[in-house]
Symmetry: D2
Subunit: 141 residues, 4 copies
């Protein structure tokens, strides 16, 4: 069991969202941020730099947005839809763009294939978390 899930299971307050959904919205951005950091470094070691500049830039954005997302989803209390929802949306958007770009290079560069998978998983986890948050908010109305 991941640390994030263990931390959720020992949380002293109430967690509004399903713990498995939330844990995924913590672990997946964490993995994705690391994979993108490593992918930038791997990209910079390739010969045809010109063709992977866009991949590098998107990975750098992805690191920043995923890091913020996992910070915010890691804090349960005082959940604020006006912050969390656009942040999850930004995270879905950059993971989609970054995943698409990595996919274009996945045949040539194994590291882009691995990074694409991390982006796709993060994209899905953030989508599910956004959905769960929306349902929770609707239920509270």
């Amino acid at each position: 069991m991941s640390y994030s899930r263990q931390m959720l299971d020992t949380y002293p307050g109430t967690i509004g969202v399903d713990a498995a959904v939330l844990a995924a919205a913590i672990d997946a951005p964490s993995d994705c941020a690391q994979a993108c950091t490593a992918d930038v470094d791997a990209d910079l070691s390739e010969q045809n730099l010109a063709e992977i500049i866009r991949c590098i830039r998107l990975c750098l954005h992805c690191v920043d947005v995923c890091t913020a997302t996992l910070g915010v989803t890691s804090r349960q209390a005082d959940y604020d839809a006006d912050v969390t929802k656009p942040l999850l949306r930004a995270c879905v958007a950059i993971c989609t763009s970054c995943g698409d770009e990595c996919e274009r290079h996945a045949r040539h560069y194994e590291h882009c294939r691995v990074c694409e998978q991390a982006c796709r998983r993060c994209e899905q986890a953030c989508r599910r978390c956004e959905q769960a948050c929306r349902e929770l908010l609707d239920a509270l109305k």
Copy 2:
């Protein structure tokens, strides 16, 4: 002149958004992230902790979102509205919440008054940058 503005003025590519607006959307989140980090530490030194827990939590979210925002606004190329706009929106939202909460404590705690100012400035800078980005995108259509 701030480093961010100097970096924009020496940027080798084209910058779509007004440089002063963009520099503010880099410097203000940077200042705000630092002020919120310091405010958490100051809050933890106060006696009546129970009443400023919400302030601490909002400041922690604010650090994460502001740090991501300044990273993304610092990278000019491959601007992606689907990422930048929700991120700026999340930044405006957390700076508003955090500024409001700090305002509640500003009379008693000088450090919350300073932090409130940093939040307000960041909120405005992100709003202006979002507006400028929207106008740019409309102009490109």
Copy 3:
């Protein structure tokens, strides 16, 4: 297999340090940063705040140092002992302090027990990585 290990296994350049040791010095700070973020949030939900303020502060430092460490260990090329070694040392130090403090609260707070484990694992992984880096540097002389 973790993404960090997959990224190392598909890295286009040469990796000086044992891949398993290096992967641990990426994954453990990543887990530790998340656990400490969550532990701060859990601490803030407890009644006896006064007695866990030190735990909160150390966790906040731990998040910052672990995040930097995993960024630096994720980039293979241009390894610089003058940067990596003191950074790993700072990471070992904060994980030790933070782990010790969490241990003091582990009997009362389950979340501190989980966080302590994440700190201990990170402390050991950074120690092993520092050792491996030292051996590599000695071998290169």
Copy 4:
């Protein structure tokens, strides 16, 4: 007056280190992290990518270490020499390396000249802060 200095001046506890020295060890890493983020983006827009790959990598490390440094120097209480000193040392080292590398490109690329200045200022501020911390610790013995 910078926000960091205002936050120090309104801090409810005691600050062991000279406030001006400490504020510089907060503001300079903050500026340096931003300048390096922007420099990576500017570098990626240049034609001769091959010759500035090392500059990109060092800037990326510099962002990570400076961000951690400013987080830790922003928190006054529970100062721990075993964490702060090696972290400041890592920050001095990466700012020196990154400044040296930027200097090599400063004649051709204006953005590297600006980034070099930010690195040099951060290097000096961290050195002075390390010195001030050492004197404080000696005085406390």
